[in-house]
Subunit: 203 residues, 2 copies
DNA sequence: CGTCGGTTTGACCAGATGGTCAAATCATTC
DNA sequence: GAATGATTTGACCATCTGGTCAAACCGACG
């Protein structure tokens, strides 16, 4: 289940290379679209050699997903109930947007998994993810009750943040096809900041 | 290239059944994840029989995508330069949201294609899609210049609408995992309407 | 040097998968 | 109801793909 701690330097290097290559391939092709040969080639290993480090294609995928959920939800975990509501939420939004810019492969890996019904992480969604979101929506609700931000549906507020920020990673090609040369991340932070300011700032 | 017009009633029925089945399978599994056998079974045909109507798996996929882009962009095409700006934009948003609710398979088919780099529709994105968006952002810009809606980045405004509305179809499992029993589409229309009202309504 | 555990590989296998084809079946028209 | 073209199918093929395995290789240590 858990990855064996690397016994040697070679193991550490190769396991890392494999995971990085696998992230490339899985995020670009989806689980079924990816082939072990592709991953092995991208990692600079032969297929049997790759399978010496991971027992199967699925094991690699699982290793990636496992590691992903944690880092992916870190920004939401960091939402501080004792901070200033607007600042906290805007900071969360910006952090998520930065992740889309800096870790688009992770975002697409996640998107591929969810769009296709989350066959491998459905459990984690309705336990870990749900309880985290339940927790944070309670925080948001108290902010609303205290009149510190506008009354909005807390769950849909969070969904909207996920959606708006991850869109820039997941639909990157579409956005760039429309924008031509302009870098989406030039104007996106400001646009999204404005959007949530107007939505949340009490009159 | 273009589908032969159905010569017989049977052709019409079977071609339709195949496309419907293929939409099921492709949208749930992606192109590479779908198998011809699956599609054939879902359409109630044998594999060779299916391949009597379409020359290849890719041909079915292309037929779906071709048909999709048109219907998918119809709501944006309907944005009326002579209408009331806020009404037009809010109506566009709601139409898109209805499409996510009523045609989630189409949305996911599109999402699968884009997330994986749009290998098959890249051309259409940077021609048809781009020119449509260029056109409509000009409309939005004139509305802004006239002071009829707030000054926002027109391209990112459109991206945000795509993102927010399609998210409910594409990330359906995630949303439902978090919301438990509640139907996302109960509260989503109101939330999104409020969001864009606050963003766009001039002071 | 020799040995021994860790690492790498070529050859191989079984099953899945996209696609073909000749023959059989069916529907329509005369 | 015979003829003719459209439709359907069972059997088949080539290729791809995930995975196995025994043998070779390598590097560190005695």
């Amino acid at each position: 289940m858990s990855p064996p701690r690397p016994a040697t330097r070679i193991q550490a290097r190769n396991r890392a290379a494999i995971l990085d290559a696998a992230l490339d391939v899985f995020s670009a092709q989806g689980f079924r679209g990816a082939t072990v040969d592709q991953i092995a080639a991208a990692a600079g290993l032969s297929k049997p050699n790759l399978l010496y480090y991971f027992p199967s294609k699925e094991a690699i995928h699982n290793a990636l997903l496992e590691q992903l959920l944690d880092t992916w939800l870190a920004p939401l975990r960091a939402l501080d109930p004792d901070g200033d509501p607007l600042q906290e939420l805007l900071a969360y939004v910006q952090r998520k947007l930065e992740m889309s810019r800096d870790y688009p492969r992770e975002s697409r890996l996640f998107a591929n998994e969810i769009v296709q019904g989350a066959p491998r992480i459905h459990g984690a969604l309705s336990t870990d993810l749900k309880s985290l979101v339940d927790d944070k929506t309670r925080v948001i609700r108290t902010w609303i009750e205290a009149g510190r931000i506008n009354r909005v549906h807390p769950y849909h507020l969070i969904f909207s943040i996920w959606s708006l920020t991850q869109h820039y990673a997941d639909f990157d090609v579409q956005i760039r096809a429309v924008l031509d040369d302009e870098d989406p991340f030039d104007a996106a932070p400001d646009f999204i900041d404005t959007l949530y300011r107007r939505l949340l700032t009490p009159p």
